[in-house]
Symmetry: C2
Subunit: 385 residues, 2 copies
């Protein structure tokens, strides 16, 4: 709930960018007294115009507002896209008297469609005139950034005398599915841009960056945190880290649960390799393997696909000493089937997969992914048409 | 047709390894006078027992026979698997008087199930007593190596006074889908193991290695060529290269067309990057992107997903100067939508995608892939159960 911390107002409107007629614009404003901010953006080299704009805006360590639209990603629109993102920010600046340089923009939706600026500008007029610090206004903003999300995603963490609120959308993470991951965090803590950036980077690595629905990475992914300082409390870096992690974790759980077409939530842990980076490589390789993901959809304890997938990973391993555990039951030991392996019950919605690559090395990492279902194919084959 | 070239006999039987009761064992024998051979194996580090055995057998440059079974991959069965593969070869040796060291073995099917050796050995007895050089025997062998294949895959190339025959199975390539890719080539040309290996390696790089259905790589992939010299003709390396390429190309086309759940055959060409390797990286990244593959299934000219996918590739690019062509019609120029891009007709079964990464570099490469369909999910979620 982004309006939970003191110092923030928000609102939403139906600008008509989404053909469905659902809410599609939101504005979040930090009323201070501080305007410290930090952000993490997509690693994709093809980035949307609002990402370029927001990167520049947050470079100063200060933000006073973020304008959101769904229904159109404003990505791959060339110079026109850059102009349109700037025009959105200029319109917000005009209506709120906030300097344009302190306003970020986030868009999500179809790539390569020019923004309908008449609708966007009318929407900004509307949303700027309807802002509030109450629960309903915060919730409305979270609803307006949804695309194929089926539920609104919000989280709140309460510290001693201060709090963090968050809203998120998307069906993936920093390697998200078609719909961009956008997350906005607000806090009334006093915190420097450096403290915010450090907390956000660490939290993203442990939450959104471990979430990998289909290996695809959006052009628009953006996580922004703004700190108003309105509580008068300046938490220690450790307190801030823990709070940002808690909120990001909560939103990441909600993203995974609502991933496109998901019927299973799968946590993959890899250990027994040289270092954490190699363990992460192997976990990602498995998490992106369609044969493994289809087996999870079918509740099929087909551990052979796990070995076939990790065998291609960029990680040290002993090919004759790999072990696999499904829901902590051994299904493969020493690269050979364990007794009862085919009878493991994977019918539940949560599946835990642990792979030991058998080198005895200290590397360990996890990713969270989902199954590959009929609904995933359905949703993603009928998206733009 | 592996029995088309002079000097080869083959046969097949129903050993009962497949629960379906369909043919599941085949034997191919080179009767000489020459026994030169070469092979290419999976790049996976987790390899099946028959792959280990066949690597050793072909290391001498000589093979006289290959024993095939479907319905069981004999992979991840530990020491027992190695023993069973050796026992199969020993049984063939006993029945044919061919030295065991000159016999290769190929298995395909479920990983991690111990081979039912009583059935396998009885099957070898049966198939060894029913071999022939005619069309029916060659065809029966090609049928017996099928798993989820829906059609038999055979090819023949006729040179001047010599020929090459081939059979193949699988639904992928060196990065194949669940069912291993197995290919057997036979020729009555006289050719050294070095000439055969060179021709096979080059042909695989241009055919099976450009075919990428889902990025998964089997533990069992094996392509073997045997040369009997029975024609008395020794083609030049160029002639041999061209002939092996022609046959591999033909089989690769058949594999792609029969890939699991395929409704579209997609050829992806990437150019305009630093070198061919980077172009191949980008083509593979796109070919493995599920969002792109779902769009192809939906006949959806959603070029934004092409940019989002290649933006994550390990390749030099100019993110503001990427061009995309669907069926040679420009849909994105300078990283921005081209007029009429949404109206391109992708309803046909073959889709040609060309991406220029915009650096002006000379790199160019292609891969062939398929769409991601409901049937793919269906087949692969219900395989082992």
């Amino acid at each position: 709930m982004i309006t939970a911390p003191a110092g923030f107002i928000a609102g939403a409107t139906i600008a008509g960018i989404k053909p469905s007629g659902k809410p599609d614009m939101a504005l979040v404003i930090n009323q201070g007294p501080n305007f410290d901010a930090a952000a993490v953006f997509t690693r994709n080299r093809v980035v949307a115009s609002p990402v370029k704009l927001s990167r520049e805006a947050v470079a100063s360590g200060q933000l006073q507002a973020v304008i959101y639209n769904s229904g159109n990603a404003n990505a791959c629109n060339g110079v026109q896209g850059d102009k349109d993102a700037a025009a959105m920010v200029a319109a917000v600046s005009e209506r709120t008297a906030i300097p344009a340089a302190d306003i970020a923009a986030c868009s999500t939706g179809l790539i390569g469609e020019v923004l309908p600026m008449d609708k966007a500008l009318a929407g900004i007029d509307d949303v700027a005139g309807n802002l509030g610090a109450d629960k309903a206004h915060g919730h409305a903003a979270a609803e307006a950034i949804m695309t194929t999300d089926t539920v609104v995603k919000e989280a709140t963490f309460s510290g001693t005398g201060w709090s963090i609120g968050a809203m998120g959308k998307g069906v993936g993470m920093m390697a998200p599915s078609l719909a961009t991951m956008l997350v906005c965090l607000t806090t009334d803590a006093a915190a420097s841009p450096q403290a915010l950036q450090s907390a956000l980077r660490k939290a993203c690595d442990l939450t959104f960056n471990t979430l990998d629905v289909d290996g695809s990475t959006s052009t628009n992914d953006t996580v922004i945190i703004m700190a108003s300082g309105a509580s008068g409390v300046e938490p220690s870096q450790e307190e801030l880290d823990a709070a940002v992690l808690a909120v990001c974790s909560d939103i990441a759980d909600q993203l995974q649960a609502d991933a496109e077409g998901v019927t299973k939530r799968v946590k993959i842990t890899v250990e027994g390799t040289a270092n954490d980076e190699q363990a992460l490589n192997a976990a990602r390789t498995l998490g992106r393997d369609n044969l493994f993901k289809c087996a999870m959809f079918g509740s099929d304890p087909n551990w052979g696909r796990v070995l076939a997938a990790v065998g291609m990973a960029d990680a040290d391993m002993d090919p004759d000493n790999i072990s696999v555990f499904f829901n902590e039951q051994a299904v493969c030991l020493g690269s050979t089937g364990a007794p009862g392996a085919r009878d493991v019950d994977l019918s539940g919605a949560d599946i835990d997969v642990r792979v030991d690559l058998g080198t005895g090395g200290p590397g360990s990492a996890f990713v969270r992914t989902t199954d590959l279902s009929h609904d995933y194919v359905q949703i993603n084959s009928a998206y733009s048409s």
